[in-house]
């Protein structure tokens, strides 16, 4: 019997098709990585001229100063000191709020995995994680900015803390769950109370997970602009008072972007922000890797 072989069913055709697909996958994957380098290159190329010591020691210039500098064709004076200090202040308060609460909730979830309450809290934490950052900003505006009758660093910190919480809860829960049960049992058998076992055995053993989780959470909220826009607002001077409006690096970038006179400063400040964020990110991942191997 003679069977007509169709082209599409020959082994050669199928293998070629498979190979072409493989190359397509590799090419598309390679293309996906390109934007990271394009963005880095763009920031370095346009930002290095303004990336100097002044960036760290002087506050942002006014639109007028920048215009004068532009007319005389000299580099724009000033830096983003008010943004750097603001970011540090806002982040510090956010960390103080989010990390203890997040760790406690994480411990609760890991210790009571089957309780209905734990399941409920876990889904709510997922829900919180999904809320768009601008909506969190609006909520903090409603609860903090309106009652305090003014924008403040504290409001910004609370917004960032709410964004960090779900990530810290998740990483605490997962890293405690990964610990062997025998560890906890050994602690209890030695006569340690429940409190001692959690504080002296479980949390220190899970430290690497907690630490990297918190670092990743920090790096994620560090570049946030939208929630700060409606909570911390921004300020033109260095401010260490948490109840006053405060600037942040990301807020300054937004200001520079909106003011044609200051547009040149946008690149150096973005470069600094990106270096901060990616640096923390890479650092967290590298120690995660190191500690996992041991």
């Amino acid at each position: 019997m003679k069977k007509k072989k169709r082209l599409t069913s020959t082994a050669k055709y199928r293998l070629t098709k498979s190979k072409i697909f493989f190359f397509a996958v590799c090419t598309l994957s390679a293309i996906t990585m390109v934007p990271l380098f394009l963005i880095l290159w763009e920031l370095v190329k346009k930002g290095y001229k303004q990336f100097n010591l002044n960036l760290f020691t002087e506050v942002a210039p006014t639109s007028m100063e920048a215009m004068l500098a532009r007319i005389s064709d000299s580099p724009i004076p000033g830096g983003i000191l008010n943004g750097i200090t603001g970011t540090l202040l806002i982040l510090a308060i956010a960390i103080i709020i989010a990390i203890p609460v997040g760790i406690m909730v994480g411990v609760y979830l890991a210790e009571n995995p089957k309780k209905r309450m734990a399941g409920f809290v876990r889904s709510l934490s997922d829900l919180l994680q999904g809320i768009p950052s601008i909506v969190i900003g609006v909520v903090v505006y409603i609860w903090i900015v309106i009652p305090m009758s003014g924008y403040s660093a504290l409001a910004g910190s609370i917004a960032l803390a709410i964004m960090m919480l779900p990530m810290i809860i998740r990483s605490t829960e997962e890293s405690i769950k990964m610990l062997p049960t025998s560890l906890k049992e050994a602690g209890l058998a030695l006569g340690g109370s429940y409190t001692t076992v959690v504080l002296r055995v479980l949390l220190p053993s899970a430290f690497s997970g907690l630490f990297t989780g918190s670092l990743l959470a920090i790096s994620r909220v560090m570049g946030e602009t939208a929630p700060l826009l409606v909570t911390a607002l921004g300020a033109s001077t260095v401010n260490w008072d948490a109840t006053n409006p405060t600037s942040a690096i990301s807020l300054l970038i937004w200001e520079f972007y909106n003011d044609p006179n200051l547009a040149n400063l946008v690149w150096s400040s973005s470069l600094l922000l990106l270096l901060f964020v990616l640096g923390i990110n890479l650092f967290a991942k590298s120690i995660a890797k190191k500690w996992k191997i041991q």
């Binding site: 996906t32 609460v101 997922d126 909506v135 409606v230 972007y257």
Partner: protein, 281 residues
Amino acid sequence: MKDKIFKAILFIAACLIILLTAGVIYGLVSKSLGAFSEFGLGFITSTEWDSRNDVYGALPFIAGTMMTSILALLFCIPFSLSVALFNGEYFRNKKVSTIVSSIVDLLAGIPSIVYGLWGFYTLRPILIDMGVSDQGFGILLSSIVLAIMIIPYASSLSAEFIAMVPNDLKEGAYSLGATNLEVITSINLPVAGSGIFASYVLAFGRALGETMAVTMLIGNTNNIPTSISDTGNSMASIIANQFGEASGVKLSSLMAIGLLLFLITACINFVAKYIMKMVNK
């Protein structure tokens, strides 16, 4: 006694999360009542956004958000699926895949505002040169940038699901003479299908809420976009743009948009989490 106090503290911390969520919902609902009592449910379907007459409607922004996010999702699929197959199937547990996945993950670390700048100064001129529109702003520009932003979320999760496909299934197919591609299309993708779907739903949820990049690129006009080169405004971007100067009914309307955005993203995330729960069972 000490233990009881400690346990109570943990319990209270967990209650804080419930309180926080309740506070988010209560705050948004109570502040948007003003807009809803003024315009009724017609607020959602009205296309008007008129500050002078104090008449507001959310439809143009819902449309803008949906158009940008859906387009972004479409743009992101070929790339993130490739990355997922690269890391989860072709080069699973190889060194090159850890490099690729960490570089793609770094994309998720770039702040939204930096994406916005890059889109504004680098991509926009390209779109203008291509003759998409005069100014370059619009749905297309924002969806391209959004697509890049959500690729890492979609690809890392779906790579995990693709890597979870049992080896014996794949080996069975190989032993029957299937090629690499045939194994992927007839084993990997069907088996990991719902997981991959869930990761795209999650990525879609991310795209819905992105604020700064979209605000900088979408063009900020309060109309329903009619084509992909048209300008518009998304729910997040109208809030970011007009929140500072708003008061009274307008402020309440912006908060109502915030509430709608919250509800939409919550539903999307719930669907994704539900699918993933079913997959893991």
